[in-house]
């Protein structure tokens, strides 16, 4: 069986300054995978490069053994919450419905089946009662859940998520994590940029440490080590202390 995700020698540069440099990353089996690394490590850029949203200087990507262009309908995307204008005149349900646009393709309009499905996806993130609200009236955590509901509506097999837990409260974080776990149990792969080192061992079973170059990748237990973190984050000790606590707490966390 072809690997779920095979990133080969991706290089991205802005004006010759490398943002990603010869990054190789292969995820063989469906995983709940985290991409971690310091600010400016190119975490979001890696996701965007895979999806073709930023031009790459070199490299190739295969998803389920085929090019990304051929696999678009099996790929889901959750952009950073700040990337859109929440003042836009659409309802919560409208945004979730956009998840069905990929399967619909150009020109075809969403019908009853898509509306019903969008409602179901919204119910899964617990925001049914907000369906007709304008999206700007939601809290940050709720907006993040709307984006997640839109991703569910994509019915993809591999999801790329850019900081799905950034700026959300602990309760929302738990709801999101439960959803990711459920997706994973359904055989899906999630590749998420994650910023909170303390929760990595608890939430993710696969981890890729990135700092312009790929430092290490593999199952969290073997890869999320102090040595690898030191290589990735350099001298940023405060972060490493937090990570050390997380390592000690390990899977003992609730």
């Amino acid at each position: 069986m072809p690997a779920v995700l095979d990133i080969h020698d991706i290089t991205v540069a802005y004006q010759r300054k490398p943002v990603l440099w010869d990054v190789d990353l292969t995820i063989e089996q469906p995983q709940l995978a985290a991409i971690i690394g310091p600010n400016g490590a190119g975490k979001s850029t890696l996701i965007k490069a895979v999806l073709g949203l930023v031009p790459t200087a070199s490299g190739s990507v295969q998803v389920f053994g085929q090019s990304v262009a051929q696999m678009r309908k099996r790929i889901g995307y959750v952009p950073q919450r700040e990337s859109v204008d929440w003042d836009f005149p659409v309802s919560v349900l409208d945004v979730v419905l956009m998840g069905t646009y990929g399967q619909l393709g150009l020109f075809r309009r969403p019908g009853t089946a898509q509306w019903r499905f969008a409602h179901e996806c919204l119910a899964k993130v617990g925001l049914e009662s907000f369906a007709n609200r304008q999206i700007g009236q939601l809290s940050g955590g709720q907006q993040q859940r709307v984006f997640l509901a839109r991703a569910l509506a994509q019915q993809a097999d591999i999801y790329f998520m850019d900081e799905p837990m950034a700026g959300v409260d602990a309760a929302t974080e738990r709801i999101i994590f439960e959803l990711l776990k459920e997706l994973r149990a359904g055989g899906k792969t999630i590749v998420a940029v994650h910023h909170d080192l303390r929760t990595v061992p608890h939430y993710f079973d696969y981890v890729a440490l990135l700092n312009v170059r790929l430092v290490a990748s593999g199952p969290t237990e073997q890869t999320f080590t102090e040595e690898n973190l030191r290589k990735t984050y350099g001298g940023r000790l405060a972060l490493l202390d937090a990570a050390g606590d997380a390592l000690q707490a390990g899977s003992a966390r609730p």
């Binding site: 965007k48 999806l51 073709g52 949203l53 262009a69 678009r72 790929i75 995307y77 952009p79 990337s83 859109v84 204008d85 836009f88 005149p89 659409v90 309802s91 409208d94 945004v95 956009m98 646009y101 990929g102 619909l104 150009l106 020109f107 309009r109 969403p110 009662s129 304008q134 809290s139 955590g141 709720q142 839109r150 790329f160 959300v168 409260d169 602990a170 309760a171 929302t172």
Partner: protein, 417 residues
């Protein structure tokens, strides 16, 4: 009343023009490209003049094609400046817009003084617009362009909506976002160019932006905003033209745009969703509701203390510390809603209906308070002061848990015996 044929032609022409500018402009505004329309309009002037010079006569179609060509060229120069130099977009737009427009004015003035044909060409009317000379042929051209704009917007509504809201997501679906953007900008260019004769290059962009900006105050839905923006554009065109017809010495563009300004101002004040008045009314109503709820809670507490369940204003003031004006208003509201009944000599009591309502409010309040203490993280994301009950906002197990805690602590509000 029968309108003269010429008036009818002009009214329908400018009306259609306004409608398509409003429709297309709404997407341009939402995609944050409204200044592109402004640059396009100003940059169109030299092309228009050059087309006239090449043909040696006033042929509207050819001149508008020339306008379109130089408008598009202007925008390409802007894109190139942003892409290849360190000039930022706003500076690039300002520079190109000014340069092209300056060249256009020089050409217009040159043509005016050139020969007998030049002075009759009336090219200066393209700067600030003129509706009087519009012919049936011009209206057909505008009609065709408007129908085309409408058809494309209807066909690609879902696509334009997505690229305007979340372009990266659209790209992740493999959609040709660049092509769709180009198509949208083409529609903007068409709407701008057909509007040049009537409104003029200086103010055409306003006709693109104002209907959309005004429509936004009335709705939170894209479909409705587009329809409304189109309707506003139509009305602005028709009304503006009618007014300018009675002031023949004035150029048409400024009159039409001032009409648009009036639409915008009225919408800004009176718009039902985002208008200033509606918002302050909503805020006032929220405050009054909140005050009435606090008053009823206070009334519930003080009525339990007195033997006959009556209370005075001063009793209320003990529990509900606020300005006298707010207390009076809340009391008036509660009496008007039948929750509180006046008794003899300055005393009041809760009506039977008021008691039920007060208990419901008190319970809701206790539950919100308890939620903030026991589930702070959940509370911070769901807390809603506008809602009496927490039930629609939190899972039922949480409500049951909180209720049980409050009962155990003897803090669960009960009906007075």
């Amino acid at each position: 009343m029968m309108l003269p044929y010429n008036t009818l032609v002009v009214l329908s022409g400018v009306g259609l023009l306004g409608a398509s500018a409003g429709l297309v402009g709404a997407f341009a505004v939402l995609r944050k490209r409204s200044l592109t329309g402004d640059a396009l309009a100003h940059a169109a002037l030299p092309g228009l003049c050059i087309a006239f010079l090449l043909l040696g006569e006033r042929n509207l179609t050819a001149m508008l094609l020339g306008a379109l060509a130089s408008g598009v060229l202007g925008n390409m120069v802007i894109a190139a400046l942003v892409r290849w130099t360190r000039v930022k977009e706003d500076a690039a737009i300002g520079t190109v817009l000014g340069g092209f427009f300056g060249l256009g004015v020089v050409l217009v003035t040159g043509i005016q003084h050139m020969s007998s044909t030049g002075s009759k060409a009336g090219l200066d009317s393209y700067i600030l617009g003129k509706t009087a000379g519009m012919t049936a042929g011009d209206v057909y051209l505008i009609l065709a362009a408007s129908v085309a704009c409408l058809a494309v917007v209807l066909l690609l509504f879902k696509e334009f909506k997505l690229i305007a809201f979340d372009g990266d997501f659209a790209r992740s679906l493999g959609w040709p976002v660049y092509g769709l953007d180009l198509l949208l900008m083409t529609l903007v260019a068409v709407a701008v160019v057909i509007g040049l004769p009537a409104v003029g290059v200086v103010l055409m962009a306003a006709l693109l932006i104002m209907p959309a900006a005004a429509a936004r105050f009335w709705t939170e839905r894209l479909g409705r905003m587009l329809a409304l923006s189109g309707a506003f554009g139509l009305a602005i065109g028709v009304i503006g033209t009618s007014i300018s017809a009675t002031f023949a010495v004035m150029p048409a563009g400024p009159i039409i745009v001032l009409t648009g300004t009036a639409f915008f101002l009225v919408s800004m004040l009176a718009g039902t969703k985002r208008g200033v008045v509606a918002q302050s009314l909503r805020h006032r109503k929220f405050r009054r509701d909140l005050a009435e709820r606090r008053l009823l809670r206070a009334a519930l507490e003080v009525s339990k203390l007195s033997g006959n369940a009556t209370f005075t204003r001063d009793d209320l003031r003990q529990r509900f510390v606020t300005t006298s004006a707010e207390l009076e208003r809340a009391l008036d509201d509660a009496i008007r809603h039948g929750a509180i009944e006046p008794c003899s000599s300055g005393t009041y009591r809760l009506s039977s209906e008021g008691k039920l309502r007060a208990v419901e409010i008190a319970r809701g309040h206790r539950l919100w308070e308890a939620l903030l203490v026991e589930y702070p993280e959940l509370a911070s994301s769901v807390a809603d002061l506008g809602s009496v009950s927490i039930t629609p906002h939190v899972p039922s197990e949480v409500v049951e848990d909180l209720t049980a805690r409050l009962r155990a602590a003897g803090e669960w509000p009960e009906l007075a015996p």
